[in-house]
């Protein structure tokens, strides 16, 4: 197991390295530069040149990358061009909020998706199954920004139960406040993903319910509830774990729209701001952190597999 973990971490290094090169290259391939954004439209050529030299942007691209990589290896991702604050500090402020949102959204999506999948799979093509499949299609089809606005109108404007804009509060300091703040963005994300969860798990469950071992379980006289929950569901959840991992990871950097609608201080919005101001060190930092979390989630998924599936041994 430890050897397996070591191997996974070793595999991670080249991935991050290649990603950093790609991101660096992509930034330079896109027109526009940060200095123009910073000094404004009316700045003189001298001002621009001075600022460019101050930031080291007049050096060759390869040299800039090498310098960045050198300090990155020492744990320093540089400072934001825009705010001049250390990149790690900026990300550190946003990361807990993002992780909190991702966790809550995943839990909500599971809570919405699993019962829908179960109810549909035990009686495929029944009226209930059709109704729930329709619901899943709706959940997948509704644009997140529109759903977000709808939820704000309902819960924040009409009912006044929840805040419309969500600042970040650490969960351990104020759990209830956290839940209130995160509820609406998490629900917005969860509805869409619950549609994916429900569809995938339903198909997986139907396959398992037709498997030979389920017939065996029925043949030994087990109640149907036990057959479904103890035998079919546990096996159906195996491929499902991967999907849950992928969707959770997608909340880390990919919840930009929802974060914007709720002005939620997540990493996705930080990244978008960084891109629009051509803040190279911040873009690099955000992407590396998002990628790192992505890979870490995949490792966790693999470890979960090793735990729940006795056939898998990591050595």
């Amino acid at each position: 197991m430890i050897s397996y973990l070591l191997r996974r971490i070793l595999q991670l290094l080249p991935v991050l390295l290649i990603a950093s090169v790609l991101v660096w290259g992509m930034i330079y391939a896109v027109p526009g530069n940060p200095v123009a954004v910073m000094v404004g439209e009316n700045a003189s050529a001298e001002q621009v040149a001075a600022e460019t030299a101050r930031l080291g942007l007049d050096r060759p691209v390869a040299v800039q990358y090498a310098a960045w990589l050198g300090s990155a290896l020492r744990g320093d991702l540089g400072a934001s061009i825009h705010s001049r604050e250390p990149v790690l500090k900026l990300i550190g402020e946003r990361l807990p909020a993002t992780l909190q949102l991702a966790a809550l959204a995943t839990l909500l999506a599971l809570a919405l998706g699993i019962p829908v999948a179960l109810a549909g799979a035990v009686a495929p093509n029944s009226w209930l199954d059709r109704l729930l499949s329709g619901w899943s299609a709706l959940a997948l089809g509704v644009p997140t920004f529109w759903l977000g606005i709808l939820l704000i109108l309902l819960f924040a404007v009409e009912l006044r139960w929840l805040p419309s804009a969500s600042g970040y509060v650490a969960f351990w300091d104020a759990p209830l406040q956290t839940l209130r703040n995160t509820a609406l963005p998490a629900l917005t994300l969860a509805v869409y993903v619950s549609g994916i969860f429900a569809r995938f798990l339903r198909a997986s469950l139907i396959t398992e319910l037709n498997a030979d071992y389920v017939r065996t379980a029925r043949a030994k006289g087990l109640p149907e509830r036990t057959v479904v929950m103890r035998h079919a569901l546990r096996n159906a959840l195996l491929p499902f774990i991967t999907i849950v991992g992928i969707m959770t990871a997608s909340f880390i950097g990919g919840a930009v729209v929802t974060e914007s609608v709720f002005t939620y201080p997540g990493i996705g919005r930080l990244l978008i701001q960084a891109i629009s101001s051509r803040d190279y060190p911040l873009i690099q930092g955000c992407i590396l952190v998002i990628l790192g979390i992505y890979v870490a989630i995949n490792v966790v998924v693999d470890l979960v597999y090793a735990y729940v599936d006795p056939r898998i041994e990591y050595s």
Partner: protein, 682 residues
């Protein structure tokens, strides 16, 4: 018999909801099974045998409509509530399914699976479940039952899994055991073990057993009575000896005639024409009429489905001409035609072939050892000759065939095709070489591309090699279809519209397209129904005769192999342990493994139930094979020399075969071969 039957089925009808109205799967079945009795149900796919079994246990899906009556131990199954059904299954019926790799839940320990039904039914306290599971596993001869009960199914071998399934079925001390093809997925030596465990547990508990199978040998071996099913009905039933000696239904007689047999060497099989009917397209009248030698075209057979009527004291048959059907089994068994001795130079020479798969471990995935899947195999095939590789799963026979085709990397040895070494060929050279040798796969269902019309499937190799136009285009492809007994009119259709036997014909047509000289046939009939196997075997023999093809025939079915081969090589753990002319291998085997293998094959003759060598254990893990002779831990002749040094593969003095054994020699007593060679000669 005075006692009441454990199972009594009357007028059972099962139909499934279909797109065009209900599809009848079972059409009026009557069955009785008494305590201490084994009823064999024989039938091909679509005969309704498995549906009948599921109906007896009330296990059919919700879209099944069941009529008639089923009483198990006095309990009405058809009208039982879900709760009553669950109680019935937990207490009175034990079910054994076909494939032990899929019938167990991979995520639950075997011990828990064995007893959970009893715990759920409240017949076993949770605290006692562990001990009871171990006891049940001990009763089916699983070593270390306490340790094994805590393991998961993937840690069990195939044979042990099926033992565990038997233990599970026995957990509630059922009065009725239903075994649906319990040994079909197992190797023949393991099948012998499982059948003997099943028979012993049945005798110990006095349960009634229904054994469903397509294997007439298994039925002849273990059943007391037989019911033959066809098209959703029982067409003949009676004591096992009467059924095999004096079949009264033309289907039973034809089935017995169509199977190749281990104990006889005929030149040609008598296949049943056509294919078993699909439940959705049953003919009116007798379902067998379109394929029947006796009733085909007869008005009465087309007009009315004959009832099951007594024929003699204990036998019943459903045939308008039951009196005339009594053709003695293979009265006109044709003696083997003397085949011309092939004298030509070998077309294929395999010399000391080795295929090794690396075992990797550690952080850096270093290679720490090798699985020797093929470990020094030598053989040759001449034009017009059939050489068979036989052996149980994992022996390396398929890997050998794939290595010859260049589909797996070899670790050593030489392969010569028509004098040319194939070893150093690049991709282009291999593509050219493969024109002359083609591979036919076991599974006709997955080896045809489902989205291409079959005409395209057959033409594809021609296009790949750029010879489609040169060989005559569509007309040439049409000729290939006729060659394998299919109408060229079906070329536009898609694979899903064909039956298994037809798909295998298409696979053969595809292999023939490039006019190869060697066919590698990997279990070409194993997935087919009994009555269809004979058709394909005959087709292969005709093609060989007409085209002078060389066959490398890979199979586990020793009866088919005896029928089709000129020479036979027996493999065990990556090596050939015995090789020789067919008759020598079958009638005077020298290697103890060949002898055990042949002895384990059930013969479709109830009078030939014989003492057999039941091999202990199963094939060892090829990653860590035993020392010395790899067969020694299971061998009845082994001594300490066998554990120490590996025997050389050399000719056995005074015999026609070569063997890798320190103590080769004919079986003492009356080996299977000697008794049957007399029969074949008479």
């Amino acid at each position: 018999m005075k006692v009441d039957p454990v199972l009594s089925v009357r007028g059972l009808q099962v139909s499934f909801a279909g797109a065009e109205g209900p599809v009848p799967a079972v059409r009026g079945v009557d069955l009785d099974v008494w305590p201490d009795e084994v009823l064999g149900i024989v039938g091909e796919s679509g005969s309704g045998k498995s549906v009948t079994a599921l109906a007896i246990a009330g296990l059919l899906a919700g879209n099944a409509q069941v009529r008639g009556s089923v009483f198990v131990d006095g309990q009405d199954v058809v009208r039982a509530s879900p709760d009553e059904l669950r109680r019935l299954r937990a207490e009175r019926i034990g079910f054994i399914f076909q494939d032990p790799t899929t019938t167990l839940n991979p995520l639950m320990t075997v011990g828990r699976q064995v007893t959970e039904g009893q715990v759920a039914a409240g017949r076993l306290a949770r605290g006692e479940a562990g001990a009871r599971a171990a006891a049940l596993l001990r009763e089916v001869d699983i070593a270390d039952p306490v340790g094994r009960a805590g393991q998961y199914p993937h840690q069990f071998s195939g044979g042990m899994r099926q033992r565990a399934v038997i233990a599970m079925a026995m957990a509630g001390r059922p009065r009725l055991i239903i075994a649906d093809e319990p040994t079909t997925a197992l190797d023949v030596t393991v099948q012998a073990q499982i059948l003997s465990v099943l028979a012993r547990r049945q005798a110990e508990t006095g349960a009634a057993v229904i054994l469903i199978t397509h294997d007439l040998g298994v039925v002849a071996e273990v059943a007391h009575r037989v019911a033959v099913m066809y098209g959703g009905r029982v067409v003949e039933t009676g004591p096992v000896r009467d059924i095999f000696r004096n079949p009264r239904h033309p289907y039973t007689a034809a089935l017995l005639n169509s199977i190749p047999r281990l104990d006889r060497a005929d030149s040609r099989l008598d296949p049943i024409p056509g294919q078993p009917p699909m439940p959705a397209e049953l003919p009116s009248g007798c379902a067998f009429e379109p394929r029947c030698a006796l009733g085909r075209g007869q008005l009465v057979c087309r007009a009315s489905d004959p009832p099951l009527e007594p024929q003699g004291p204990a036998q019943r048959a459903a045939c308008h001409f039951a009196g005339e059907a009594a053709a003695p089994v293979r009265a006109a068994a044709r003696a083997a035609e003397p085949r011309p001795e092939p004298t030509a130079e070998p077309l294929l020479i395999v010399d000391d072939l080795r295929v090794h798969y690396p075992i990797r471990a550690g952080v850096l995935r270093r290679t720490v050892g090798h699985v020797r899947a093929v470990d020094g195999v030598s053989l040759s095939v001449r034009p017009g000759e059939t050489v068979s590789l036989v052996g149980e799963s994992g022996c390396g026979k398929t890997t050998t065939g794939r290595a010859v085709m260049g589909l797996v990397k070899t670790a050593g040895g030489r392969i010569l095709f028509d004098g040319q070494a194939l070893g150093g060929l690049g991709p282009a050279g291999w593509r050219k070489a493969r024109r002359h040798m083609q591979y036919i796969f076991q599974d006709p269902y997955s080896s045809l591309n489902p989205v291409k019309p079959v005409g395209e499937v057959v033409a594809e190799p021609l296009r790949i090699h750029g010879v489609y136009e040169a060989l005559g285009g569509a007309r040439y492809v049409a000729g290939l279809f006729e060659r394998v007994g299919l109408s060229p009119r079906v070329m536009e259709r898609y694979p899903r519209e064909f039956s298994g036997g037809q798909k295998q014909r298409i696979g053969i047509a595809r292999a023939l397209a490039l006019q190869p000289r060697l066919l590698i046939l990997d279990e070409p009939v194993a997935a087919l129904d009994v009555s269809i196997q004979a058709q394909i075997v005959n087709l292969l023999q005709d093609l060989q005769q007409d085209l002078g093809l060389a066959y490398l025939f890979i199979a586990h079915d020793l009866s088919v192999v005896r029928h089709i081969s000129d020479r036979v090589a027996v493999m065990y753990l990556g090596r050939i342990v015995e090789e020789g002319p067919k008759d020598a291998i079958y009638e005077r085997p020298m290697h103890p493994y060949t002898q055990s293998l042949l002895s384990a094959v059930p013969t479709p003759d109830p009078d030939a139930r014989r003492h057999r060598i039941v091999l202990e254990g199963e094939i060892p893990n090829p990653a860590s094979p035993p020392t010395g002779c790899t067969f020694h831990p299971r061998c009845f002749r082994a001594d300490e020399r066998c554990a120490r040094e590996a025997p050389a593969f050399v000719p056995v003095p005074g015999e026609a075969t070569r063997a890798a054994c320190h103590y080769p020699g004919p079986l003492a007593g009356a080996p299977a071969g000697e008794a049957t060679s007399l029969e074949a000669a008479s």
